[in-house]
């Protein structure tokens, strides 16, 4: 396991946002974190990515306990997070975005030629088909933007990729494209933490599934132990969904 939590918890004032969650992600595997709105998914990934610090339990990277005080610290340990909304600057070109915050240098200058070339190469290596790295990111589709952000994290030596709802705002086809890049990142040996509320996106690509509900863990399952229907049922709170089906049935 590259990254592991043991009974991790977080409170905001009197609100218990997260209680006793244990999970892990190994090299070359995808761990999906599933849960409805308010289940604690965001709190968990913010702890993993260094935005928040946990109050209880322990957080281990490479088997040693850590406590990150900033996202930069997590990034230095190879834990990169791609957020759904704040991934890119729309008016800046793809290559400027790609190297933002870690620009290659040539003397005192920003090595623009290299940035352009490397961005184009890295995108192609991930199988991402961007027409022109000079175009502003604002002109890319949502899926393309997510893909560029993933390629960027991979290029900068991420060992663990945390993806915050990368498919939730996308259409079926676009979501498929992003899932393919998740699989490709996994094949390159990265550990992926994939946050979603859509079991249909999680199941095909995931190796392990952590289910959250109201801030607590409903268990972490390996793919072999859990069918897709079970996953969907667990997600929706099983019994609740059946009840709803009854309610909605025509008399």
């Amino acid at each position: 396991m590259i990254l592991q939590t043991r009974d991790i918890g977080k409170t905001f004032g009197s609100v218990l946002a997260l209680r006793g969650v244990s999970m892990g992600v190994a090299e070359g595997t995808v761990t999906c974190v599933l849960g409805d709105n308010g289940a604690g998914k965001s709190t968990l990934i913010k702890i993993l990515s260094g935005v928040h610090q946990h109050d209880t339990g322990s957080y281990l990277v490479d088997g040693a306990e850590v406590r990150f005080s900033s996202p930069r610290e997590a990034l230095d340990r190879g834990i990169a997070t791609v957020y759904q909304d704040l991934a890119m600057i729309p008016l800046m070109s793809v290559w400027r975005n790609f190297f933002l915050g870690s620009e290659p240098r040539k003397g005192p200058a920003f090595d623009v030629a290299r940035a352009r070339r490397v961005a184009a190469e890295e995108l192609r290596a991930m199988g991402i088909d961007i027409r022109d790295v000079d175009q502003p990111v604002g002109t890319l589709s949502g899926g393309e933007r997510q893909s560029v952000a993933i390629a960027r994290a991979v290029h900068f030596g991420a060992r663990v990729l945390i993806l915050d709802e990368p498919t939730s705002a996308l259409g079926v086809k676009q979501a498929g494209v992003v899932l393919r890049y998740i699989a490709r990142a996994r094949d390159r040996g990265l550990g992926v933490v994939f946050i979603t509320h859509n079991p249909h996106h999680a199941y095909p690509v995931g190796d392990r599934f952590l289910l959250l509900n109201r801030g607590t863990s409903m268990g972490e399952y390996a793919k072999a132990d859990l069918g897709k229907d079970e996953l969907t049922a667990l997600m929706a709170g099983g019994a609740e969904l059946e009840e709803l089906a009854h309610e909605l049935r025509r008399e």
Binding site: I89, L91, M92, L100, S102, V112, Q135
Partner: protein, 346 residues
């Protein structure tokens, strides 16, 4: 500016020169420049003579130095309304220290620089710490400096101006460097024009070819996203406010050395002209987009109109009307150009 991609994509049509030009932020300003030049040059022979050019490049230079700095700040997503009055503060410090307290001109300028840097730092610190709009924060600084300029000058001299810089030690050297003239082909040009060109070149290099340049676009485009990928957003913004302050100090010193006296109310109202020049040059009011060259071209348009109206023998009040019309046209043009740019690239 486009490097050839390693493998051409069949969906990217060969982008023609015209289209590549139109996606530049300076385009609107260049069109305006040509139109304004043609208008005045057609009616006034003096306007298009070398002496005339030297004449309208002079106000363009001091305005241009400020407009370039303000453009960088606006690309970084902030405003500085105190920049105009700060030119006055810097000039007043220079003249007061050099004429009343026995400072040489150079040490007095250094003192002015220290104060300007402190004001810029304070502006930046308050804006980044409190997250208040810079419009409000620097409006406060603007009013405070305006009060200090008048209050302190009155308290020291009993009048609203300080003068007599010519007699201060070191005046000749400083004046030659900042306020002198140079001869080019028999016409004398103000040396401030060289400072302006050098600053425009430096600012363009920083924006397009340095890491801080990338950060400036980023903090203006989306500060949250920039911070998330490790851009030192607060430091970038504070540095931008300090850059504007240094420009104000430079312009204040140039003007003080040129006229050898400074009015306590100088610079009031200029801050909007800097912003207007930057907007004409393609800067978005919302930040994240613009150019230093564009702001300089905006300043040239102002210089032309300022002097051109006089050459034509019109009432100088028409300048204000021109100012408003240019701003409106430029903002509309910028919006259209940007929209077109994004469509072209799609």
């Amino acid at each position: 500016m486009t490097a050839a991609p390693a493998r051409a994509d069949e969906r990217v049509a060969r982008v023609g020169l015209a289209r590549r030009l139109i996606v530049r932020p300076e385009l609107g300003a260049v069109v305006g420049l040509v139109a304004v030049f043609a208008f005045f040059a057609a009616q006034s022979e003096v306007f298009r003579s070398p002496a005339g050019i030297a004449n309208w490049l002079d106000p363009a230079a001091t305005l241009g130095i400020m407009a370039v700095a303000v453009a960088l700040l606006m690309i970084g997503g902030e405003f500085d309304l105190s920049a105009g009055v700060l030119t006055g503060t810097s000039g007043l410090i220079l003249v007061t220290l050099a004429t009343r307290y026995g400072f040489g001109v150079w040490p007095a300028m250094l003192a002015g620089l220290v104060v300007a840097l402190a004001v810029g730092f304070a502006n930046g610190l308050v804006v980044t710490r409190t997250k208040l709009p810079s419009f409000i924060v620097t409006l406060g600084t603007f009013l405070m400096l305006q009060g200090v300029n008048l209050g302190v000058t009155k308290a020291i001299t009993g009048t609203v101006q300080v003068g007599g810089l010519r007699r201060a030690p070191g005046f000749d050297g400083a004046s030659a460097v900042l306020a002198g003239t140079i001869q080019i082909g028999g016409t004398s040009f103000r040396v401030a024009i060289l400072w302006w060109i050098a600053i425009t070149a430096l600012a363009t290099w920083v924006l397009m070819r340095s890491r801080p340049g990338n950060w400036i676009f980023a903090v203006g485009g989306d500060e949250q996203a920039a911070r998330a990928v490790g851009v030192p957003a607060a430091r970038t913004k504070i540095a931008l406010f300090m850059t504007t302050a240094v420009a104000a100090w430079l312009v204040g010193s140039i003007l003080a050395l040129r006229y050898t006296s400074v009015q306590a109310n100088i610079g009031i109202g200029q801050e909007f002209i800097y912003i207007i020049a930057a907007v004409i040059g393609g800067c978005l009011l919302t930040g994240g987009y613009g150019s230093a060259v564009g702001a300089s071209i905006g300043a040239v348009i102002f210089g032309m109109a300022d002097k051109g109206i006089v050459f034509l023998g019109w009432d100088a009040d028409w300048f204000k009307f021109f100012l408003g019309a240019m701003l409106l046209l430029a903002t509309l043009a910028n919006r259209m150009v940007r929209r077109y740019a994004e469509e072209v690239r799609r």
